[in-house]
């Protein structure tokens, strides 16, 4: 028996594990993604909803692009098996039922994508009223995912 075959298998397994990411890493990365999105959401809210006199077209457009980038970054890869338990930056709040609800999750994830991409498009036009409306839709898409798969504390 060639001694290198078990070694090759071991290396392959380690490499696959590193690609999938240990569970805590997936949780940490997705928590970071949503935190980064939240910063940009708050920037838009401040300039478009709360204090429209401070509206800066480039700032809001950059924030909308950042949110769309998060939505388009393939976050699904960070929801691997077993990631309903573990601590990233903090204990994950993913519901275990997530893994049985893949179809619904895909639908809700797509609404986030579509809403975020639309917001980025609208932010480029500089029409504050349109931005405000679409911003509300993005918020609704965030909420629909939370309602579906996130445990309330």
């Amino acid at each position: 028996m060639n001694k290198k075959i078990p070694l090759a298998i071991l290396l392959a397994a380690t490499a696959t594990a590193a690609l999938a990411g240990p569970i805590e890493e997936q949780i940490r990365f997705r928590q970071s993604a949503y935190s980064f999105a939240a910063w940009n959401i708050q920037k838009i809210k401040a300039q478009v909803v709360d204090h429209p006199e401070t509206y800066n077209k480039d700032s809001v457009a950059a924030a909308a692009n950042a949110i769309a980038a998060v939505a388009n970054s393939g976050l699904g890869a960070l929801y691997g098996e077993g990631t309903d338990q573990g601590i990233g930056w903090k204990q994950t709040r993913l519901k275990p039922e997530f893994f049985q609800k893949k179809d619904e999750v895909t639908k809700v994830a797509n609404t986030f994508n579509e809403a975020a991409n639309e917001l980025a498009k609208v932010a480029a036009t500089g029409d504050v009223n349109l931005i405000k409306t679409q911003f509300g839709k993005v918020g609704e898409s965030c909420k629909s995912c939370h309602d579906l798969i996130r445990i309330k504390e």
Binding site: Q31, Y34, S35, A38, W39, I41, Q42, K43, K45, A46, Q47, V49, H51, T54, N56, S59, A63, W89, K90, K132, T133, F135, G136, K137, V138, G139, E140, C142, K143, H146, K152, E153
Partner: protein
Amino acid sequence: MKVTIHIWDLPHRLFHWLLAVSVVAAYITASIGGELIDWHGRLGIFILGLLVFRIIWGFIGSTHSRFSTFFPTFSRISAYLKGQWQGIGHNPLGALSVLALLAAVAVQVGTGLFANDDIAFEGPLFDLIDKDVSDKLTGLHSTTFYILLGFVVLHLIAIVFYRFVKKTNLVKPMLTGKKEVPRALAEAVAPDHSTIGFGAVRFILSLIISSTVVWGVSGGITKLYPVQHQQQASNESTSTDVAPQAPSSF
């Protein structure tokens, strides 16, 4: 022989119906979310004002609004259980449900003041605590909703029960403020007609106090005494008048 009693004064009735409408609207705005979450917040603060008003009115309103008239003390409850309670306003069971509803709404509003939705909404007093505490209070806010819902359903069932089984219309007095009671009962409850009527000065005083609370919670206090944040986020490239946020949301 029946007499007409003025039982619920106008502020009391206004409070009741405004509260009912506001709670329903608060539920709807919370369910839809998105742009409407800010309205949910405003309704919450309005409900806080209503609650504060009701509590003050429970001390200085007209007779049947006062807690002292209907508060379910042990003696009143045991008399009621023995079938010996008599009165015009809430019986002790009704009184208990009033207090339960007020308490549930109070917890909802109290937790909501500090809540956040991890998206774009923070309660008006969010700056006084950190995100972890806010998340826990938000969780409470979600759970207590079901308790409030239960009490509201019981309340509605009781109204229907009184209407169709006990043949007593409770909605009409809450609309018109007047109730017909047997003269003998009216005499027994207030033999020297010693009921306290509506007082304009007391009403204005209650309004001032509840408005002050609403003002304070909506930012009046933090305008006078600005809260210092532990960490200041840098605002170099996005120099707007946005208040610095501690970077902590997940």
